[in-house]
């Protein structure tokens, strides 16, 4: 056993760190009020600022926008541990690092797309020119995703799509929907679904904003009214979408904002050190010390789940329950971190960033709201526990 990183890995970490320090705007920390594992405050979805665009292009030039891709497709050809190092550093600085096209769309196309599809899509995804949004959930298909009702009917060389998607994060600033549709309503739920890429500008697509409790516009509900899509946009084979979708989950396993936990924690600790009431700093209070120590312990555990997952992937093992553990543990930690931050800050914790007397840019106040989304998005805690219990521990489903 050896818990040290190799020289190569340490050198890579430094390279990533230097890149971020050179390329990220100096005031990024103040601008990006992202909360670890939250979906509500992702600043880059509020508006695609020129700074984010520029940073994305620099990432693409460096070959890191699609860091998980093999070299033959323009990726960096790195090990999973190196990818993990990359995500750890990027998230520590809350840097924007890829989206649905680079993280899910590209890798799925690589595995299952036709040669024609690969030629059409992979280069522009690799260059950071197209953004996808994830069109999976529907009003009545959340945790029960396989019950989607959005219908795609074949018509010559086209599909005609009708239905409604919801929680389309960043749909309004993306170009295409990476979309699950029902193509065979007679088949069992898992066997009649296809994946298709749909142009946002197609006639019949209506995107409506959903403002989240943080007050941000990051989600959308999107209506599809007889939207015509060329069949060549179907990913892989018809009616195999559910399988692709499950495989694609593997691509996201290391996309955990692990570094942002440490970063945010450090900021709260610094606040506790620097804030004094009646000559005593907050960090001297035993109860506060205890709470902060508790978070430090859990961040350390979360990191071990993270490195373990990367190591298993490098070994060719399938980290099925580990990935669920990592998701479950970090998202619940997101809530604990917010609550601890609130307790450390007391009355000041409830002040929004723009208020007089606010601290830490109102990050904790907003995080207290945003952390709600962490346990709900991308598979709720309940679903993760089901996966751990049934797939991981072999407990009977009924």
């Amino acid at each position: 056993m050896d818990f040290t990183f190799s020289e190569r890995e340490e050198a890579f970490r430094k390279e990533v760190e230097d890149f971020i320090n050179n390329e990220l705007p100096a005031d990024w920390v103040e601008k990006n009020i992202y909360w670890p594992a939250g979906y509500g405050t992702l600043a880059q979805f509020e508006e695609l600022s020129p700074e984010v665009e520029q940073f994305t292009h620099r990432l693409a030039e460096k070959g890191w926008l699609n860091i998980s891709w093999p070299k033959e497709y323009g990726g960096a050809g790195l090990s999973y541990t190196e990818q993990a190092i990359f995500h750890e550093r990027m998230s520590y600085y809350r840097a924007p690092a890829g989206e649905v096209a680079t993280l899910i769309g590209g890798p799925t196309i690589m595995l299952f797309g036709s040669e024609e599809m690969k030629k059409e899509w992979l280069p522009k995804i690799a260059r950071g020119e197209v953004r996808f949004w994830l069109a999976y959930s529907e009003p009545n298909a959340g945790s029960d995703l396989s019950s989607i009702q959005t219908r795609a009917i074949e018509d010559g060389d086209d599909l005609i799509i009708s239905g409604q998607k919801i929680w389309g994060t960043a749909a309004h600033v993306s170009h295409y929907a990476w979309m699950a549709v029902k193509t065979d309503p007679t088949a069992p739920p898992h066997k009649g679904i296809s994946l298709v890429i749909v142009d946002n500008t197609s006639p019949g697509v209506t995107i409506r904003p959903l403002v989240n409790i943080c007050g941000f516009y990051s989600f959308n509900e999107v209506f599809f009214d007889n939207v015509r899509v060329p069949k060549k946009n179907v990913v892989g084979e018809m009616n195999k979408g559910w399988y692709y979708l499950m495989v694609a989950l593997d691509f996201e396993r290391l996309v955990i904002p692990i570094g942002s936990f440490r970063r945010t924690f450090e900021e709260i600790v610094q606040y506790a050190r620097e804030t004094k009431y009646n000559e005593q700093s907050v960090s001297q209070q035993l109860l506060i010390r205890n709470k902060l120590a508790n978070i430090a312990i859990q961040i350390e555990i979360a990191y071990m789940f993270f490195w373990q997952t990367a190591w298993m992937l490098d070994k060719g093992l399938v980290p099925n329950i580990e990935a669920s553990l990592l998701k479950l543990f970090t998202t619940e930690l997101s809530q604990k971190l917010a609550n601890t931050g609130m307790q450390v800050m007391g009355h000041y914790g409830q002040l929004e960033g723009t208020s007089k007397w606010s601290s830490l840019h109102g990050r904790v106040c907003l995080g207290y709201l945003d952390c709600i989304s962490a346990l709900v998005g991308a598979g709720t805690s309940e679903i993760q526990r089901n996966i751990i219990a049934m797939r991981g521990l072999g407990l009977p489903p009924k």
């Binding site: 959340g142 919801i166 959903l210 989600f219 009646n278 007397w357």
Partner: protein, 377 residues
């Protein structure tokens, strides 16, 4: 023993719930949350006509002679409906303080106006060190030519932005024991030198910074005795803490009701999500929290109402109920899933309130320290 509400209290409860549902729909709650004032003058007048502002005042001051328990029943319903506005600061923090310790002249001048809805009050106690200890009162009032000049900054002051009068807790004498030398002044909010800045808060409640810059008040504006203000503050805090618990119980009950209704309606995997054991256990945990909070709140409210010593029970109630409200609203959010994460949904209004309620008048750690002390530790 009788652990139930009286017939009159049951009636008050029903009337209050119906009134608030009709007169203060969530649409208005949101509108008031967004506004700078945080209350509706029209609704305020209607509440006054219901006799709510004077509920606990004697008839001779325009009240209806109710007791503290009656007020608790009303506050629970206000919490259920998350009624925005200065009722709490006007009646619990201001009116009841004047009633308990004000001069006859002050009672005659202020209480009828509070009861009729003509006057809004606010209590300026906490300062930038955000503590409820006497040592934290640094704002000074210095006697000069038969008057007092107040200087200092008060922070997290509820509803000062719309208050007609502010009860300002100030230090009039430096003493070895910080509990000595504190005096409460009734300050006209329009006095020269009073500057109020609205803070932006999680719960959208209207907390303010109030700066007193050479504010001159007369000797007559002292509530209670000069230098003897801290016992009054302690008494106000005790009642206010119990009153806050009542709001908490109402809010937590509402979150539970909403979540249970949704769990019955929302279908996933071909069945209502409320049929899944995970969700059932969430709901059961919430129900346990709500009931526990209600029972301890009623007990302590009864004690306070009867004038019995209640320091330990008050701390127990606040420590328990405030954390329970947080747990209940968090689980409610989990049951609502993504839809609850949207601004249009109502559950986040309760989740925000839960945090504000937890912080105000001392969080659970603060209360547990009191509990330990009361246990002789």
């Amino acid at each position: 023993m009788d652990l139930g509400l009286s017939e009159e209290q049951e009636m008050l409860k029903t009337l209050a719930r119906d009134f608030l549902q009709k007169e203060c729909p969530k649409r208005l709650v949101r509108q008031l949350d967004e506004s700078d004032e945080g209350y509706s003058a029209e609704l305020w007048q209607r509440m006054a006509r219901q006799g709510w502002m004077g509920l606990v005042f004697p008839e001779k001051y325009g009240g209806s002679d109710g007791n503290f328990l009656d007020l608790i029943v009303l506050l629970e319903e206000m919490g259920y409906n998350i009624l925005p506005g200065p009722f709490f600061s006007t009646v619990v923090l201001g009116g009841m303080t004047i009633l308990a310790t004000g001069s006859e002249e002050q009672k005659t001048e202020f209480l009828p106006k509070v009861a009729s809805g003509e006057m809004i009050l606010s209590l300026a106690l906490t300062e930038p060190n955000a503590s409820y200890e006497a040592a934290s009162v640094k704002t000074k009032a210095i006697a000069r030519n038969g008057e007092y000049v107040i200087n200092g900054t008060k922070l997290f002051v509820l509803n000062a932005n719309v208050a007609d009068y502010i009860l300002c807790v100030a230090r009039t004498k430096q003493a070895k024991n910080p509990e000595n030398g504190i005096t409460i002044f009734l300050v006209d909010a329009k006095s020269p030198g009073v500057k109020c800045t609205l803070l932006k808060t999680l719960a959208r409640d209207k907390q303010c910074e109030v700066v007193f810059d050479n504010v001159t008040v007369s000797e007559k504006s002292i509530v209670g005795e000069r230098d003897e203000g801290w016992p009054i503050v302690k008494d106000v805090l005790q009642k206010a803490t119990v009153a806050k618990c009542a709001e908490i119980v109402g809010g937590a009950q509402a979150a539970l009701d909403m979540a249970v209704n949704y769990a019955k309606e929302r279908v996933q995997f071909g069945r209502p999500i409320g049929s899944f054991q995970a969700i059932q256990h969430y709901c059961a945990n919430m129900a346990t929290d709500v009931s526990g909070s209600r029972f301890i709140t009623y007990k302590v409210a009864w004690k306070v109402s009867e004038g019995l010593p209640a320091a330990l029970d008050v701390a127990i109630a606040k420590a328990w109920a405030s954390e329970a409200y947080g747990r209940v609203t968090l689980l409610a959010h989990q049951i609502f899933g993504a839809i609850g994460f949207t601004m249009d949904h109502d559950i986040h209004l309760y989740y925000r309130q839960a945090k504000a309620a937890e912080i105000i008048f001392g969080d659970a750690d603060f209360q547990r320290a009191i509990i330990a002390r009361e246990l002789g530790l």
